[in-house]
């Protein structure tokens, strides 16, 4: 117990527990994971809210993210500065949303943000093309990419504005039960 107290105050831990889906133990485990990325940067004492930010290069090299085609987007979406540099809070936030406990709507909201590459609050054709290229590594021909994107929009775009809004996306997620288990990173 003594060890725990030196890293966070009880109030800090309470706040973390109230705002994420993690237990005390998991929060500490995640802290150590975070610290292991750069032991010389991250202090062992977080009681006075040190302003520490790990650069994206370190976050993206975690084994959980290393091979994920969307790793950069994930880091960007969850980092406060939008460039993938993460504080501990951002880090906890990210894994909290990607944990098993997070509800479908929350997951869908962040998944939408991840797929929305140009941050215009819509998944438009260019976003879909980017997603497709990330997923298939440019193995489809241009024609095929175009056809797939058209088909996706055709299927999921309910209000016919030629792009997917958050509502369209959520509507699709509701009908795809696997999403809950696939949008999940075990820590």
């Amino acid at each position: 117990m003594g060890n725990k107290q030196t890293i966070f105050t009880a109030q800090q831990l309470d706040a973390y527990q109230d705002c994420t889906y993690f237990t005390r133990k998991e929060i500490l485990r995640l802290f150590y994971r975070y610290r292991d990325l750069a032991p010389q940067l991250v202090p062992l004492d977080y009681t006075n809210h040190p302003d520490v930010k790990l650069p994206y290069e370190l976050i993206g090299s975690m084994p959980e993210l290393k091979d994920n085609p969307f790793r950069q987007r994930i880091a960007e979406v969850f980092s406060e500065d939008g460039e993938g540099n993460m504080t501990l809070d951002d880090f906890l936030d990210m894994f909290s949303v990607l944990s098993e406990m997070a509800p479908r709507d929350l997951k869908a909201y962040y998944a939408f943000k991840i797929y929305d590459f140009n941050n215009d609050d819509f998944i438009c054709k260019s976003d879909l093309e980017k997603t497709l290229n990330k997923l298939t590594r440019n193995e489809l021909t241009e024609d095929e990419v175009r056809m797939v994107c058209e088909k996706v929009i055709d299927e999921a775009d309910l209000d016919n504005d030629g792009r997917l809004s958050l509502e369209d996306f959520q509507h699709m997620i509701v009908r795809a039960p696997d999403f809950l288990s696939t949008f999940h990173i075990r820590i």
Binding site: A15, D18, C19, T20, Y21, T23, R24, K25, E26, P63, E64, K66, D67, N68, F70, E80, D89, D90, L92, D93, S96, D105, L106, Y110, A111, Y115, D121, T131, L132, L135, T136, R137, E139, L140, M147, V148, K151, V152, E155, A156, L158, D159, N160, D161, E167, F169, H171, M172, I173, R175, A176, P177, D178, F179, L180, S181, T182, H184, I185, R186
Partner: protein, 838 residues
């Protein structure tokens, strides 16, 4: 409750003016959010904070605000509130501790993570299922051991009784083969039904304990199966549809839990193949000629015939083997050879279970199905049929032939179940050794490549062995112990075999739906079958005369009768007897219960139908709104193009606003907005928080709104000036309605862009139209769309003229635009009416 970040598109807000507006908006929204959250109980509030799609910092801020509020409140009240606050804090902390304790108890977390990382979620379902079954068996073992076996062991230890109880006879020794056959020495241990006593041990009624332990266990199993099945169906089946295949493949299938480089590469390739297939699928469907279709049907029919006859053949051969076993093991004291003969049936059964499914998979390769899912389902149905026919033959044999052999037949059934469970285990090991290890090492058939991990086949094997354990629970109460051991080993075996020899399945499939189907299969033919076998045994078969807890009774259930008879003599327990006689034993009761359940089912079915209809309509509504939105957007874009010449025209004959007309639409909107605010102050009309974005269309929207307000003002200033009363009063109503929308619609978050502004305007207009209808003080709109548009246009034009006469400088919007917007709004109204007409 849905609420988006309080800082949406913060980088889009550049000017101080819009920042102000957004800041106000945000403050409002946050206040609303805080009020909403404060109304919840502590527990719900925390959950709601967690579910907010905001960053940790914002959540923390909100949490702090809430705490401040509640501490202010508790200061006002007495210590009672303080106490309850502390209590809730304490319970929350307890909850956290329980949660973390639960987490420590979770089995195989690391292993699950690595499997998920390498093979994805669909393979993981097998292991999750395995773990779930293991939990069932651990529970069953604890219950049986605790309530049945321990009392017996304690009783046996009592010195003066231990001579009477039939212990292992002198001439029976442990020979080693028992481990395989479960007979001989084991027959006299607590493993089987036969060695349990029927006496009341110091107030502990063994008969009742045995009966109720098994009954309660089966009922609990059934309840938990039904429960998890219902939850799974609700989550995975009800709303799922296969229509949006591409969208699903692209946006929902990527498995974020996969962390292995090789697996990621493979998934990419698979996705590529699947996407290409789905693109060519439609073309392929059309190309099929009649003769090809006939050929496919023929092959399907042939495969069905072949697989069904194979299943029947297997069942028949097992039946004859069982008959042979009875002949071979007639006398009581078995020689070693006779004991070995008993191994024949389990050997053959397990062999069939290992080999025939492979044949089925082979058939499947020749068949052609339109979708991969259909193919899997067909394979599943055939395998289930095979396993069911084997089990039903065995059960028939156990229920009809074995009891005829006389005393101790329950133990014999228990032994054959023991052998089946054991051989099933051995063959599972052999199967994964030959099927997965060997084919990898020797590369016997290089054409087939690295074997895939077949989730469906493996899960069916698990279901089969669990069914054996359920049937055996009556005959051999400690069978779950074996099952625990078996599943435990199997987990590691499969994990090793998987990581060394298999590749992840090429098609990811819909894992969540497959899992639902597995649970359904476990419940429906298998659990229900096992339950009915056990129930039949307990109600209809005569227990052995000389051994077991129910010796001397007509059937096991009469133990309860005897108990009730005993209770009659005890005063104070009459009510139990009454309940037993009037409820449990009366047909009327069951008849009524069935009737009530049927009625409830019917009502719920109707409710479901109603909901389906509702969903269909809501979907239609979304589509309609989308159409409206795109129509409006189109119009606005047209407008954008026509703005420059419009303003030029205005300039030519509107001298009083000459300095304004030169500036672009944006500046006009800004000025309009300022004017609006001034007017608001003067007339103290409810303000309209206008979401702004620096795009032309949204400034046009602002212009429109400003114009509307100006209209309203006109009306206020010139109440008698009613050349066009309907137009201006409608607009006033629209404004008021828009305010209402802004105030009331807390759930709606604002995406600050043009479409949301347009939608809001539309909503406002709708509401205005509704109130119009309610009040009935205006001429009822003609239901033809064209008529409405025409009218609106005319009105707008008249209106424009009046505007220029009365307050020209306050008219920032180009005249044409307002006419068009009104026309659009009129169209919306007409559409509404059209919808209402249905």
């Amino acid at each position: 409750m849905r609420r988006m970040s309080m800082f949406p598109n913060a980088d889009h807000t550049q000017t101080a003016f819009t920042e102000d507006a957004i800041w106000n908006e945000m403050q409002n929204e946050q206040q609303n959010l805080l009020e909403e959250l404060a109304a919840l109980s502590t527990r719900d509030r925390i959950q709601a904070i967690r579910d907010l799609p905001m960053s940790f910092k914002e959540k923390k801020h909100i949490r702090k605000e809430l705490e401040l509020q509640s501490s202010k409140k508790s200061r006002q009240f007495t210590c009672l509130a303080d106490c309850s606050e502390k209590l809730s804090l304490f319970s929350r902390k307890c909850g956290y501790h329980v949660k973390s304790a639960k987490q420590t108890l979770k089995l195989w977390q690391g292993a699950m993570k690595s499997i998920g990382g390498k093979f994805g979620t669909s393979v993981l379902t097998y292991f999750v299922f395995l773990k779930w079954l293991l939990m069932f068996n651990i529970f069953s073992f604890l219950v049986n051991f605790g309530f049945v076996t321990i009392p017996l062991l304690v009783y046996k230890q009592t010195p003066n009784i231990s001579q009477i109880v039939n212990n292992v006879p002198q001439n029976v020794t442990f020979r080693g083969l028992e481990i395989l056959t479960g007979a001989g020495y084991f027959k006299y241990t607590v493993m089987y039904y036969g060695s349990y006593s029927n006496e009341s041990l110091v107030g502990y009624n063994m008969q009742l304990a045995y009966f109720f332990t098994i009954a309660v266990y089966m009922v609990l199993c059934g309840i938990s199966l039904i429960f998890s099945m219902a939850v799974n169906f609700k989550n995975n089946y009800v709303l799922a549809d296969s229509a949006s295949n591409s969208a699903w493949q692209l946006l929902c299938t990527w498995d974020f839990s996969v962390t292995n480089e090789k697996a990621v590469k493979q998934r990419r390739n698979n996705l590529c193949v699947q996407l290409k297939e789905s693109l060519s699928e439609t073309a392929q469907q059309e190309r099929l000629s009649v003769s090809e279709k006939l050929k496919h049907y023929g092959i399907n029919f042939g495969c069905w015939l072949l697989s069904t006859s194979l299943a029947f053949g297997c069942a028949a051969s097992i039946y004859y083997l069982c008959k042979y076993e009875i002949e071979a093991t007639k006398n009581d004291n078995w020689s070693l050879l006779e004991e070995a003969k008993t191994l024949l049936v389990p050997f053959v059964v397990s062999l069939i279970n290992l080999v025939i499914p492979l044949f089925y998979s082979l058939f499947n390769k020749f068949e052609h199905y339109s979708t991969h899912r259909k193919q899997i389902y067909v394979l599943l149905i055939r395998n289930v049929f095979l396993k069911m026919s084997i089990l039903s033959v065995l059960c028939y044999y156990w229920m009809n032939k074995v009891p005829a052999k006389g005393s101790g037949w329950e133990s014999m059934v228990g032994q054959s179940l023991y052998r089946l469970v054991l051989f099933d285990f051995l063959f599972l090991m052999l199967g994964s050794f030959f099927g997965e290890f060997l084919s990898k090492w020797t590369k016997l058939i290089p054409r087939m490549g690295v074997p895939e991990f077949d989730v469906a086949r493996n899960v069916l094997e698990l279901i089969y062995s669990q069914t054996l354990a359920w049937i055996g629970i009556y005959f051999s109460p400690l069978l779950p112990a074996m099952q625990i051991f078996k599943f435990f080993i199997l987990f590691y075996l499969k994990k090793v075999s998987l990581t060394h020899n298999c590749q992840p399945p090429r098609r990811s499939g819909r894992a969540a739906q497959m899992q639902t189907i597995f649970i359904f299969l476990l419940f429906f033919p298998f659990f229900v079958g096992a339950l009915s076998i056990v129930a039949y045994t307990a109600w209809s078969l005569t227990p052995s005369k000389s051994c077991g807890p129910f010796r001397g009774l007509n059937n096991s259930f009469s133990a309860v009768d005897v108990w009730i008879d005993d209770l009659k003599n005890i005063t104070g327990s009459q009510w139990v007897v009454e309940i037993y006689n009037n409820v449990i034993r009366s047909e009327i009761f069951y008849f009524l219960i069935t009737l009530i359940i049927l009625v409830i089912i019917y009502i719920l079915w109707q409710v479901t139908n109603g909901r389906k209809e509702l969903i269909r309509r809501l979907r239609q509504q979304i589509v309609n709104e989308g159409k409206d939105k795109s129509f409006l957007l189109e119009r606005l874009q047209d407008l954008q193009k026509s703005i420059p010449n419009k303003s030029m025209k205005q300039h030519s004959y509107d001298h009083s606003s000459g300095d304004q007309s030169n500036s672009n639409a944006m500046v006009q909107a800004l000025l309009a907005r300022q004017q609006l605010e001034e007017e608001e102050k003067r007339y103290s009309i409810g303000g309209v928080p206008v979401p702004s974005e620096m795009s032309n269309s949204s400034s046009l929207m602002q212009a429109m709104l400003a114009r509307q307000l100006a209209d309203q003002e006109n009306e206020d200033q010139y109440p008698m000036h009613d050349e066009n009363p309907s137009s201006s009063s409608t607009l006033a109503q629209a404004m008021a309605a828009r305010n209402r929308v802004e105030d009331e619609d807390n759930n709606q978050y604002d995406i600050f862009n043009r479409s949301s502004a347009v939608t809001q305007a539309m909503q406002a207009r709708r509401r205005a139209e509704d109130t119009e209808d309610d009040m009935g003080d205006l001429p009822h709109p003609v239901s033809s769309v064209m008529m409405q548009v025409m009218q609106a246009r005319q009105q707008a034009q008249e209106d424009d003229r009046i505007q220029w006469m009365t307050a020209p400088p306050q008219n920032p919007g180009p005249s044409g635009s307002s006419a068009l917007i009104q026309a659009m709004l009129a169209r919306q109204a007409a559409q509404n009416e059209y919808d209402d007409g249905y």
